[in-house]
Amino acid sequence: MLYMPSLFSKSVEEIEHKNDSDSDQVDTVVGPSVVVEGDFVSHGNIVVKGVVSGNVKTSQHLLVEEGAKIMAHVKARSAKVAGEVRGNIKVKDTLELTATAKVLGDVECGTLIVAGGAGINGKCTTLAVDFSSLKETNKEDKKILGLRKKSKIELAGFEEQQPMASV
C-alpha cells in the first residue's frame, strides 16, 4: 500500500518545532509605531522595529532594526542588532552588531561580528573561542615573560643614567 502524506496536514510537533530551513520566515514583527511592555517570548523569528520594554526571548532569530529599542535582556539562538539594547544579550550562535548598534550591557554569544561604528558598553564573552590555552603559562611563555621583565629593569636603569634630552 502506497503511503501518500497529506499536503495539508502538519502535525503539531512539526509546526511547533520548526527546523533550520524555516529560519528565513518572520513570525513576529514589532512595528515602528508600537510599544511592547512586559516579557516577550516567542518560538519563532522576531523582528523589532519599535520599542520593547521587557525581556525578549526566542528560540530562533532576532533582528533589531535601526531605530528600534529593547530595554531589558535579550536571549536568542542568533541575532542581528542595528538598534539599541539596554540590557544583557545572550545568543547561542552568531551575534552581529551593525554600525548603528548600541549595546549597554554584557554580551555573551557563540560568534561575534562587530561592524565599525558599533558601540558596546559591557563585558563581551565569545563561547566559540577556546581561551584555555591563554590561561595556562608554559615554560616557553615564562621564559619570554622573564626576558621581558629583565629588559624593562635594564631600560629603567639606562634611563636614570641618561635622561632623555628635551626635544
Binding site: 496536514s9 518572520v26 511592555e37 522595529k49
Partner: protein
C-alpha cells in the same frame, strides 16, 4: 447521513436555477439528505444537536460566508463534520478552503477530504475566518505576559485564522496564515489622524503577533466585525479553542502550501 442547512436567502428567484443544479448533482452523487431552511434569527446549535441525536454526522452549510460564520459562531465545536456549498458570485471562505462556487462544490463534498482546523473563541462565541477591529485607542494584552499599544494614539487590529490579512500594509499581506498551526495571528495597524480633515492614515508597517490568548481593552466601545457579524465591545477576550473544526476541504485550498 447528510443534513443541509439552507440560507434563508436561497428562496429568492435569482438562486433557483443554481439550487436546482446543486440538488441534481447531490442526487447524482447519492449524498442527498435532510434539508433545514434557517431563518435570520435561528440558532443552529440546538438544531444540529437534535439531528446528531437522530444519527446525522455531516452538516453542510448552503449559502454565503455570512451564513457560514453565523452557523459556526455557535456550532463550530460540535463533534460533527461540516461541509460548505457556497452559493452566489464570490466567497472568500470557499476560496481559502479550496471549494468552488455553486454546483461544482458538490464534487468536493462527495470527495470527503476532511481536515481539522483551528477555531477561535471570542467573548461568547466562536469564529473561524477573521476578526476586524476598527481603529480605536486600544490596549492589547497577549498570553497574560506582555501588553502592546500604539505609540501615538489609535490602532486597528485584525485577527486572522482562516482568511489572510487584507490590511493596507503590503508586507504584512505576505505573512502566511495557516488554520492548522495551533495559533491565531494578530495584525496591529497604528493610525494617525490628520488635523484638518480628520482623515485616518495607516502609518508605516503593521505589527504581527502570533498568539493563543489575547485581551483587547478600549477606553470607549469599539466596533468588532467577526466573520461578517458586527458588534460593539469595550473588552474583547480572544483565544484559540481547545477543540478543532472538522471541515470538508478541496485540493485547491490556499494554505498549507509550504
Amino acid at each position: 447521513m447528510y443534513v443541509y442547512l439552507y440560507d434563508p436567502a436561497l428562496k429568492e428567484k435569482r438562486f433557483q436555477s443554481i439550487m436546482k443544479t446543486v440538488e441534481n448533482r447531490l442526487t447524482d452523487f447519492g449524498i442527498t439528505g435532510r434539508i433545514i431552511r434557517l431563518t435570520p434569527f435561528t440558532n443552529a446549535k440546538p438544531i444540529i444537536e437534535d439531528e446528531v441525536a437522530r444519527g446525522s454526522k455531516t452538516f453542510v452549510i448552503v449559502g454565503n460566508d455570512t451564513t457560514f460564520g453565523h452557523i459556526m459562531s455557535s456550532s463550530a465545536a460540535l463533534p460533527v463534520t461540516f461541509g460548505y456549498i457556497p452559493v452566489g458570485d464570490d466567497s472568500a471562505v470557499a476560496h481559502s478552503l479550496g471549494i468552488p462556487l455553486n454546483a461544482p462544490a458538490v464534487d468536493v463534498l462527495s470527495a470527503r477530504k476532511i481536515e481539522p482546523l483551528d477555531i477561535g473563541w471570542m467573548n461568547n462565541r466562536y469564529f473561524i475566518s477573521r476578526i476586524e477591529i476598527e481603529p480605536a485607542p486600544l490596549s492589547v494584552e497577549y498570553d497574560a505576559q506582555f501588553r502592546v499599544r500604539a505609540r501615538d494614539g489609535e490602532m486597528g487590529v485584525t485577527i486572522c485564522n482562516l482568511l489572510p490579512f487584507q490590511g493596507a500594509h503590503l508586507g504584512a499581506r505576505d505573512h502566511v496564515v495557516h488554520p492548522q498551526d495551533v495559533q491565531l495571528d494578530a495584525f496591529l495597524e497604528p493610525v494617525e489622524k490628520k488635523r484638518w480633515f480628520r482623515k485616518r492614515v495607516t502609518t508605516q508597517a503593521a505589527s504581527i503577533f502570533p498568539f493563543r490568548e489575547m485581551v483587547i481593552r478600549g477606553r470607549r466601545p469599539f466596533t468588532v466585525v467577526a466573520d461578517g457579524r458586527h458588534s460593539k465591545e469595550i473588552s474583547l477576550s480572544i483565544k484559540l479553542a481547545d477543540v478543532k473544526l472538522k471541515m470538508v476541504v478541496g485540493k485547491e485550498r490556499m494554505f498549507g502550501l509550504s
